[in-house]
């Protein structure tokens, strides 16, 4: 139900590290801060998303959905996810409003079988959702003030030279640290390693198939591989559109019920 955050995370990650190639003189924190400022440059977004869940035997299950997002001048964000498949969840939709002056997002879930919109709580952000290898936290907006950043080194990986940045939370809630590899030439993330609260290696995110859409570089293929349980989640984005002037009415309970 929080797949919209995956898309948001992709957008965030795609622009978060964009300026790094030209900012070698900046500290890791400054790099991250500048990335934060750039991450919401698209006023609105919409895309089709395919999400494939792979278990450790290699069996797969697929979800298809439509995602809509919009940023507001006051820093607020609204997002809507509508499930297209599988058939038994078609029409299910998820609406989220976030605001910088509120600790928690406001969220609603619409189940077509019940024809009711239900307000839901944010829940435990450290938990997996919908069986994916993403957590609620992964797909939300990171508050950089809560983390300490260190530029560890430069490293060549898969034939590309990358910056390696370590982020350690000031107050550990979900991860003990996250290490990110940033492509030096394109400033796009290539890999992220997540460590659990005990400091053990937990999972790895890979970002590929980068497309430039309306000047915004966007990875359209993301894999999150949990090395502890052997499971993987693959996200494919298509028909990505930025700044089409999405109407505010889309982000309402009315639209959730209509589904169009």
């Amino acid at each position: 139900m929080k797949y919209y955050r995956v898309l948001m995370a992709v957008f965030v990650l795609s622009v978060m590290f964009w300026p790094l190639a030209n900012a070698e003189e900046l500290s890791a924190y400054q790099i991250a801060k500048k990335s934060e400022d750039l991450m919401n440059q698209a006023r609105d977004t919409q895309a089709e998303m395919s999400m494939i869940l792979v278990n450790k035997k290699g069996d797969t299950r697929q979800r298809k959905l439509m995602s809509y997002g919009k940023n507001y001048d006051n820093g607020a964000q609204k997002a809507l996810i509508v499930f297209e498949s599988p058939a038994d969840v078609k029409g299910t939709s998820f609406l989220s409003w976030s605001s910088p002056d509120k600790d928690e997002d406001e969220q609603w879930l619409y189940l077509p079988a019940l024809q009711r919109v239900r307000q839901i709580s944010t829940g435990g952000k450290g938990e997996s959702f919908m069986g994916t290898e993403f957590t609620f936290y992964d797909m939300g907006n990171r508050n950089l003030e809560d983390e300490n950043f260190t530029l560890l080194k430069e490293e060549e990986i898969e034939g590309e030279t990358c910056y390696v940045i370590e982020a350690v939370p000031k107050e550990m809630k979900y991860y003990s640290k996250v290490i990110t590899w940033i492509r030096k030439d394109s400033s796009m993330p290539l890999k992220m390693d997540f460590y659990d609260k005990k400091g053990k290696y937990l999972k790895q995110g890979m970002f590929g198939s980068i497309q430039t859409i309306k000047g915004i570089k966007t990875p359209t293929h993301i894999e999150m591989h949990n090395v502890q349980n052997g499971r993987k989640t693959i996200i494919e984005l298509s028909n990505i559109q930025y700044d089409t002037g999405l109407n505010d009415d889309i982000f309402t309970q009315r639209y959730m019920k209509r589904g169009r």
């Binding site: 278990n55 058939a87 839901i120 709580s121 944010t122 450290g126 938990e127 959702f129």
Partner: protein, 506 residues
């Protein structure tokens, strides 16, 4: 314990065999699918009865087709049609193919059901829906006292999901959206009655069953009773008899709030039991008489008003939901045995016998068989209120939901007890626990209901497994009971069962 349905497993396998055919057929509709969105499922359902004393039930099969067709930017047509082979039905003799909107006892099998079929029309500030449709008001789970525009199919008591129970009704709906408030208006031109299982079926409510005998306390002894279950007498098709509901909603600072009003007919059964006493003079010399009774179990309809409100909000990891309804002019059914005991008094029996003798003599001893109609007052009109609060907690793959729901009748008359209420109160607690496993491939559920007044309970653990995105199997247990066998759930205490479902979705 016994196995009643050896066909259950073959039935489940049969649906799998049919599934590829459905897929092939679906492929042939590719062009149609460009214009019309087609989804649906094929489901088989079998039970394993745990008690000997409840009626049999064969496996059921259901095919549901969901069609959606966009009509430009201004509208959409939706139809949900079901084909059902209902294993609960015994000796179907209706002879009709499609579910009717004017009968409580449908008694047909197999049959088609138009679950919903409506046209949506969209404008800038309002949406309209015309056709067979379902409304969904209120914030509680499964029990919504403010939700009265649709009646329910109670042929499986109220144990299946609300979306399955609710009967789509021909209606007009308008949703008007403003910056201040959203308003929903529902108009049902003609009341559509609830549906009940027939008296021989597994889920016929025992509380509606006529008593086997009427005790007289005299030398006549117990009078044997034959129950006759009458069909409903629908109100005339007039504007005054139509049903109307209006609901205003707004989201304010984290709170979803609504107020609502309904004027229409009660969605739940209310019954009278006019009874014919048949006295037959068997031997004119010895004056031996035989007395029999025909109890006509007759549904009654009454209009009422419902004033309601509801809310939902979040607090930390919790979602809090509440709903309140005030029923103005609601009718209740008195207990049959109490009413008949009050009616068949010694004085009344003497009056009847005197009348019998007078008529016998007046007829020259030819009217040896006479019928006397007893029409005691089975119904009581009392205002009441029903309210509840629910709490949901979601943590990762775990969802826990609890509700406390109470009905209160301020003017309850303890000398005239009614069904399903104890001294003016009826209080239940519900609990639903869901846990996902294996990347949401499997879910374990536990649903429970407990009633504090009648001490009845429902415990339903069930397990669902998705073999693929299209094939889902469910295995569950329904365990019912209670101290009062005539309580809402306790009446079904002989209906414990294990059930299995297999669904192919496309």
């Amino acid at each position: 314990m016994k196995i009643r349905h050896a066909l259950t497993i073959p039935a489940l396998l049969a649906s799998l065999a049919i599934a590829p055919t459905a897929v092939a057929a679906g492929e042939g509709f590719d062009k149609l699918k460009e214009a019309v969105s087609i989804n649906g499922y094929l489901e088989s359902n079998g039970i394993y009865a745990l008690e000997d004393s409840s009626p049999d039930e064969d496996p059921s099969y259901m095919f549901e087709l969901r069609l959606k067709s966009e009509l430009g930017s201004w509208g959409m047509f939706t139809a949900i049609v079901q084909g059902i082979d209902d294993g609960k039905v015994i000796d179907a003799d209706n002879g009709r193919l499609i579910n009717e909107f004017d009968a409580i006892y449908q008694d047909k099998n197999p049959f088609l059901n138009i679950d919903e079929a409506y046209l949506d029309i969209y404008t800038d500030n309002a949406d309209f829906r015309i056709g067979i449709q379902k409304f969904a008001w209120g914030r509680l789970d499964e029990i919504n006292p403010t939700d009265n525009l649709n009646t329910e199919d109670l042929t499986q008591a109220s144990l299946n999901e609300e979306s399955e129970r609710k009967i789509g009704v021909p209606a007009l709906k308008a949703n008007v959206y403003t910056d201040l408030i959203n308003i929903e208006l529902g108009w049902v031109p003609r009341y559509v009655p609830y549906r009940l299982a027939t008296s021989e079926e597994r889920w016929f409510p025992p509380v509606l069953r006529a008593p086997d005998t009427i005790p007289t306390g005299t030398m006549i002894g117990d009078i044997p009773v034959t129950g006759i279950y009458e069909e409903i007498d629908l109100p005339a098709f007039t504007l005054d008899n139509s049903e109307l509901g209006i609901r205003a909603s707004r989201y304010i600072a984290g709170w979803d709030l609504s107020v609502s009003y309904f004027r229409g007919y009660d969605t739940m059964p209310v019954y009278t039991v006019p009874t014919e006493l048949i006295i037959n003079l068997e031997n004119i010399l010895s004056f031996d008489t035989a007395v029999d009774a025909l109890a006509h179990v007759t549904p009654k309809l009454h209009q009422m008003q419902v004033f309601g409100c509801d809310f939902s909000t979040t607090y930390g990891p919790f979602t809090i939901r509440g709903e309140y309804a005030y029923f103005d002019g609601k009718y209740y059914t008195r207990k049959t045995e109490d009413v008949l005991a009050d009616e068949i008094t010694l004085a009344k029996q003497q009056d009847i016998m005197e009348e019998f003798l007078r008529e016998l003599i007046r007829s020259g001893f030819t009217k040896t068989r006479q019928t006397f109609l007893l029409e005691p007052d089975f119904e009581l009109q009392m205002d009441s209120m029903k309210y509840g609060i629910g709490l949901d907690y979601i943590h990762g793959d775990t969802t826990l939901s609890g509700q406390l729901i109470q009905e209160y009748i301020p003017d309850y008359d303890s000398h005239k007890p009614i069904r399903f209420n104890d001294g003016g109160y009826d209080t239940i607690i519900t609990l639903a626990l869901k846990q996902y496993f294996l990347q949401n491939t499997m879910e374990a559920n536990l649903d429970m209901i407990y009633n504090f007044n009648f001490k009845y309970y429902l415990v339903r653990p069930w397990l669902a497994y998705n073999f693929s995105d299209s094939i889902k199997a469910t295995l569950g247990l329904i365990w019912l009971g209670g101290e009062d066998e005539y309580s809402l759930i306790g009446q079904y205490e002989d209906n414990d069962q294990v059930y299995a479902k297999l669904r192919y979705s496309f």
